[in-house]
Symmetry: C2
Subunit: 568 residues, 2 copies
């Protein structure tokens, strides 16, 4: 079945030009670019005045952070011209291990988008984490046999690489042995430490937030993934990379995208628009988002309009706005006039489905579990910082006889992280300041990277109701006040992803955030977002885990009350 | 074992810059580039004022055409800075099949150069050829399991690709299935035919001799291998490719290099020098010859001075002349002051060695074999053309009663191609004009692509002596006059490669060419070179095979005497 796209303006990413010509496809492939006529094809699509752009590629994304399951993710991204993503299922791997990764890969295989995976390299993230999944070097080596697995995911344990920790090096060795690439994640290090990290064969990074960081890495051979996601936004700082000859070693990635942002602003198309608005040449930005992303990942038939390439074509009204009208993926029309065409939801293996749909393994909670016993000395309260993921330790004397230490006047409320993968009963308890919450409680099964159940609240009762509600809906977000659930967002797939469409999920997300704001607010604070990183003991200074506080800088557990014996 | 290269000027192929800094290597790998000191290393090499360049890569070469065996080839190339080649053992495969390829791969594995192979795709070259080896799709699929085999060699049968010949498509399919790339070879076609060819997944070409050819291919996604060998010299025509953004899709290759040229002018270094002389930016030329060659072949740790890269370093006195002083390959010094350091000759498996060393399977010849019986009508004489590989048919009436048709006054001498692989007794007999030979005979076991024994001479007796001499020395070149061998060049490895050093082989080659010239000469004719292509029925117009003449344009066998019945 041959289709001719007639009279288009083709973006040629090999020569940075736009050429008026025709494109002939046969089934899944482009078979010709040039002077073809209607006689050469079974059907003809007139694209006079339109631009044909290669399908866009996101070189690094955690699909889970969109809160959409893979099918809905694809439905939401296709109208933005994304036809290929390289996904790192780090979040679901922390919850459901190999089954979680299996869920993502199996679900994606037949979707109308090319979804490649990298195997998460750091599950669990730290020795302090109690995750649902554990991936060792052997597990990783087995996963490398899957044709859709093309690399080892971002190696966040850069201290482990630099100091040569055997377990870390075994994972890296497995990648080299299988001929797979390794994604980087090593912010802020430089010089000899950076060299050691790269020398392990880690040839890209998406964590550059300054041009200096980026230039050092690019000079040392790393591909620079210019990240512009919902939270982390590096584009502005990295604009000089759109100049020659630097641009040829860069790609565009999102890393994390929230559903509303994806829905309203777009995906890689939005990064291109923003780059152009800031002065970058559009053809350079498109090349980064197509050919070069494919090059980095060794995908030799993706990312260009040329014979032998996969027929992933975007029909744009014009080049400058990158507004996508129609999308063809492997030669099949999947988006028409900006609307994704219907496709069947993927069949999911029952054992996989059962595992990821029953991820909140938790007995029914009782408010007594949230009670904190007094200790000796000042209390270590976690202070969240506006617009940042780092936290600070705030030491203060607390009177536990009054509301068990909660003091909304001082903005000190209670915090709990409850292990939810094997129902061990482990619970980390303490206090948090800075959220601005003055009543009720919020709870979430999205809490990096182990995604245990995190709860913050004013009363033990509301915390109990919120936590039990998450348990009942099988994972998600909830806002509770005076014993009543004000809003929730069910995420029954591993407690991370929902069943709804992007617009449904965005709307649910809007409602829970609004309800949470109604409990009290502080400028620069997004309660669920901040909370989601309060449990991640790789970001300084102090974090809460299922077994209590961790001093990230000292890399050890510390007691809630400073003068209690160390819990290390 | 760590070595510091201190105070060098490093060519950075990622940024097209030269940077004054230090390089730290550990064993085979570069582990750091930057502010390192002597304390970081076990030994220090001071390279103040010198340039450090990544080892050069030849993306396409037939080692056999140097007439050097792989070890001597490496000894000759290292002082020119070549540390990696992608070799296509097409010639030896036509003689010794899988054993021939095995000889090349096994011999190269431990040499101080990284030698990757592509599997020849067209053995034998045509249905008219009687080759010693035959490679079908199954053989090719097996060879793809070797880690040093990275692709399918130049697909010369472009008509077969364009028309979808099953056997050709099976080989291409085997490459795709194994995830191997495919090298192109499709001169002169364009438009829809070129598209069909590229669409088969053939993403490079080294046969562009005009800028128009190159630009069409580059626009359609092919990597352009700018070829500058001993005979085919495309650099001048392709100079515009050194401009941006075209340069980033190009590499530098030699294809065929003769021993004297290699010895006296150099290898890839010489192409860089020539390009610079003609106005190309040196850093662009170096990038083509390093990083981009590696990119084309997916060799992610070759072609740059950066952490994690293989420690293939050239120490140059200065950038402009590209004169190589010292060479380090995988961290080991292999060239000092322009001299290759000694290394052991490789061990060769006895069965392989026996096969390639006994490639001239031929009974002792008798002069009666060269006698031609008269036929009906005018005789088809092959006319060689100065400075070209194509031939023309020259029809003339011959009187076979006089010297069996040989007429040196008219420059018509006798031509024979004798099957030498299975001693079938097949012999193609006829006449050739244009060589200028007026006495004696020359014989050679180098005759593309089947490398049967080709002989041209004035008397049957001298032809017999020359042919029998080749038989006795187990392959090579010989010049005979009046029953005496004037000069010879033994090529006992498959009749293609010798045992001597590059300078010995160049000297032998000079002598046989000189001796051949002494038999008579014509301007623009190099008798052994022209003869080597007189048997290749893919180059127009008329060629001699072991079973007689082939009309290449009509793609059929034709009788020597025009009015004899067709031999088809």
């Amino acid at each position: 079945m041959r289709t001719l796209f007639r009279n288009g303006r083709i973006i040629n990413v090999f020569t940075d030009t736009v050429q008026e010509t025709n494109v002939l496809i046969d089934g899944e492939r482009i078979i010709g670019v040039g002077a073809y006529s209607c006689e050469d094809a079974d059907s003809v699509v007139d694209v006079s005045g339109k631009v044909i752009c290669p399908g866009l590629i996101d070189g690094h994304i955690h699909i889970e952070s969109t809160m959409l399951n893979p099918a809905e993710f694809v439905r939401a991204c296709l109208p933005h011209g994304t036809t290929t993503v390289i996904a790192d299922p780090h979040e679901i791997a922390n919850v459901s291990g190999l089954y979680g990764i299996g869920y993502m890969i199996e679900t994606s295989r037949k979707l109308p988008m090319t979804v490649y995976y990298v195997v998460p390299s750091c599950v669990p993230a730290t020795e302090f984490d109690e995750s649902g999944g554990v991936l060792n070097a052997q597990d990783i080596a087995v996963l490398f046999n899957d044709p859709y697995v093309i690399g080892l995911g971002e190696m966040m344990n850069f201290p482990g690489v630099i100091s040569g920790v055997p377990d870390v090096m075994a994972k890296i060795g497995a990648a080299h042995k299988a001929g797979k690439l390794i994604n980087g994640h090593a912010p802020m290090i430089s010089g000899a430490e950076l060299d050691r990290y790269i020398a392990a064969g880690i040839f890209d990074d998406h964590e550059c937030s300054t041009i200096e960081e980026a230039l050092e890495r690019l000079n040392k051979g790393q591909w620079i993934m210019i990240r512009q996601g919902t939270a982390a936004r590096d584009l502005e700082a990295l604009l000089p990379l759109f100049e020659e000859p630097l641009s040829r070693r860069c790609l565009l990635v999102t890393d994390d995208k929230h559903p509303a942002d994806l829905l309203h602003n777009g995906h890689i198309d939005s990064i291109i628009r923003q780059a152009v608005q800031k002065g970058a040449p559009v053809l350079t930005a498109v090349r980064m988002a197509t050919l070069q992303a494919a090059q980095r990942f060794g995908l030799n038939d993706l990312g260009a309009i040329a014979p032998g390439y996969q027929a992933d074509l975007l029909i744009l009204d014009d080049l400058e706005t990158m507004r996508v009208k129609d999308v063809y993926r492997r030669g099949v029309k999947v988006v028409t006039d900006g609307q994704t065409l219907p496709f069947a939801d993927p069949q999911i293996r029952p054992d996989i489905w059962k595992t990821v749909r029953n991820s909140v393994m938790l007995r029914k909670l009782d408010s007594a579990m949230f009670h904190i016993e007094p200790g000796r000395g000042p209390c270590r309260v976690i202070r969240v910082i506006p617009d940042q993921l780092i936290t600070k330790e705030y030491r203060t004397e607390l009177d536990l006889t009054e509301n068990n230490g909660v003091d909304t006047e001082k903005d000190i409320i209670k915090l709990a992280v409850i292990e939810r993968h094997v129902d061990s009963g482990h619970i980390g308890l303490g206090y948090i300041t800075g959220l601005g919450i003055r009543k009720g409680a919020i709870a979430s099964s999205v809490s990096h990277d182990s995604h245990n159940l995190i709860v913050a609240g004013v009363t033990d009762e509301d915390m109990t109701v919120a936590a039990n509600h998450i348990r009942e809906i099988g994972g998600g977000l909830a806002v509770v006040c005076d014993g009543r659930v004000l809003a929730d967002m069910p995420l029954p797939i591993a407690g991370l992803m929902g069943l709804g469409t992007a617009s449904e999920m965005a709307e649910q997300n809007r409602k829970v955030r609004e309800a949470a704001a109604g409990l009290g607010s502080a400028p620069g604070i997004e309660p669920f977002m901040n909370l989601a990183f309060v449990s991640l003991p790789v970001i300084p200074d102090i974090k809460m885990t299922t077994q209590g506080l961790v001093d990230v800088n000292a890399w050890k557990r510390v007691p809630l009350f400073a003068d209690n014996a160390d819990k290390a």
